[in-house]
């Protein structure tokens, strides 16, 4: 006999609202229904009422973790409409911020995953490490969450002494190599809670069009930083980690390896940062009539913005944001099928869901 277990909208592990109704037989989940939209904010509609400065601040609030990525994607779209290209130094600063945000996101996720595994010491370790990443973000931008770094035509703040940040990056990498990565990849606790759990097959990953680490952990080798480079990524050397198993452990491995790659990219960007201006300057722009799209590889996967403008207008006519969790979350239904009920919080968390992005 089957019965339904509702999980959420007040989630036991994640402090954002969504609901998973699980149809179970005994301890086994047979199927699941996902419900979102409990905190829908209508940000796309609000964007049409904001001018070209205000809309950047607004879209920075789509997500609390990858706020930089959202303004980067938006500004790249607006730059296409204005016929502007950010100066080389600004492109490098954008890479530095984007990779720090990836570190921030992956370490935050690792902490939450550890908590859901019942590995509370690891949770504390990850969050202490996250503070160090945020220290670097604060040193650059003056802010720990919403950085206000991007503007149309570049960035608002320079990294005056890139070499001074290198020791902070070294320390971050050392800590990650010493604690987070070995424990997540070799500990029996992590293995027993993650291996073979929440499998998303390659076929289903393709069919659901999932993105980011969720896709790469199911053998889909896509990464916009390599496939469609933006900012200064074309000048960076890095690997795109791909795993084939499609389980929670594979998602964990992919993110762990991406942390190492991010440290490498950061080191390259800081050491090769060209001199020069950080923005094209000016605060009046002529946006052409039409639509421009831009895509960026956020920590959770591809973010896409379509921005439409009418020439002479101060406000965008339309802003559409497709966020990575929006693409990834429907796949949770396939991941929890056949899983033990007790594993479902961790399975959901393994896509690193952002309900704020989803309910934009």
């Amino acid at each position: 006999m089957s019965y339904k277990i509702p999980m959420g909208p007040y989630h036991p592990g994640l402090e954002e609202p969504y609901k998973l109704d699980m149809i179970c037989e005994g301890e086994t989940v047979k199927d699941a229904e996902l419900h979102i939209g409990f905190n829908f904010r209508g940000i796309e509609h609000l964007a049409e009422t904001r001018n070209y400065f205000q809309v950047i601040a607004l879209m920075e609030r789509v997500c609390g973790i990858c706020s930089f990525i959202h303004t980067l994607t938006l500004c790249q779209s607006m730059e296409k409409l204005a016929g502007l290209e950010a100066p080389p130094r600004a492109q490098y600063i954008r890479v530095v911020m984007a990779e720090l945000e990836r570190l921030h996101s992956h370490v935050l996720w690792a902490g939450i995953a550890a908590k859901l595994m019942g590995f509370k010491t690891m949770f504390m370790t990850c969050f202490a490490l996250r503070e160090k990443v945020m220290d670097v973000l604060q040193a650059i931008s003056g802010n720990r969450v919403n950085y206000s770094m991007n503007c149309v035509g570049g960035v608002n703040r320079d990294i005056e002494d890139p070499a001074a940040l290198a020791p902070m990056i070294d320390e971050l990498e050392r800590e990650m190599m010493r604690t987070v990565i070995p424990i997540f990849t070799t500990s029996s606790t992590a293995r027993s809670r993650c291996a073979g759990i929440g499998v998303l097959t390659h076929e289903k990953a393709v069919s659901c069009a999932v993105v980011g680490p969720t896709a790469r952990a199911s053998g889909v080798p896509q990464d916009l930083r390599r496939d469609a480079p933006y900012a200064a990524y074309a000048e960076m050397k890095f690997e795109v980690p791909v795993e084939q198993a499609g389980d929670v452990r594979a998602r964990l491995f992919v993110r762990a390896l991406e942390i190492i790659e991010s440290c490498g990219i950061l080191r390259q960007a800081l050491s090769k940062m060209p001199p020069g201006e950080i923005s094209t300057g000016g605060d009046k722009f002529n946006f052409a009539t039409g639509t421009a799209t831009s895509r960026v590889e956020a920590p959770r996967g591809e973010v896409m913005y379509s921005v439409t403008w009418k020439e002479g207008s101060r406000n965008p006519a339309r802003v559409h944001a497709r966020t990575p969790t929006y693409a990834n979350m429907p796949a949770v239904r396939w991941m929890v099928r056949g899983a033990r009920l007790a594993d479902t919080p961790l399975i959901q968390a393994s896509i690193d869901p952002c309900y704020s992005c989803t309910d934009r």
Binding site: E33, H35, I36, G37, F38, F40, G42, E44, H45, K80, L81, V206, S207, C208, A209, Q222, L224, R226, D227, A228, G290, T291, A292, T293, S294, R295, E302, M304, S306, T308, R318, H320, R322, Y326, A327, P330, D359
Partner: protein, 136 residues
């Protein structure tokens, strides 16, 4: 033959690809959105999203369908005079939520599919969020 030529051949269209601001656009002409989805499946493109626009006056809507082909963003604009377009959900399950969202934001019907309860729970009826005349 390039991948873009292959798509044109599969769709049987003579329309040219136009690159604009980083997106490769193809006017689908007489090709239906379902034929397009089948062609995209056949070539292994990844569905990205649909962006809906309400056109001025009674001109209807424009829906832009986006797929990714090995890092290249493809765009296909469909203009609909009424309130309805065929669903591609059964051909492309990744389109499920965005079809439901557009249905709720613009009151556009994606024909041939059933709707589950509201995706965006702060709207109490379809069309209240972005469609102007329904919102009024």
């Amino acid at each position: 033959m390039t991948a873009l030529d292959t798509i044109r051949e599969k769709l049987g269209t003579a329309e040219p690809w136009v690159e604009s601001r980083g997106t490769w656009w193809l006017n689908p002409g007489a090709v239906s959105v379902r034929e397009l989805a089948q062609a995209m499946n056949a070539i292994g493109a990844r569905f990205v999203t649909i962006t809906a626009y309400q056109l001025p006056g009674d001109a209807g809507f424009r829906l832009e369908y986006h797929w990714d082909l090995t890092g290249r963003l493809l765009g296909f604009p469909f203009q609909i005079a009424g309130n309805s377009i065929e669903s591609i959900f059964d051909l492309c399950e990744a389109a499920d939520w965005i079809e439901r969202e557009i249905h709720e934001e613009y009151s556009i019907d994606f024909a041939g599919r059933a709707y589950e309860p509201l995706l965006l729970r702060q709207g109490d009826k379809p069309g209240v969020n972005l469609r102007e005349e329904v919102a009024k």
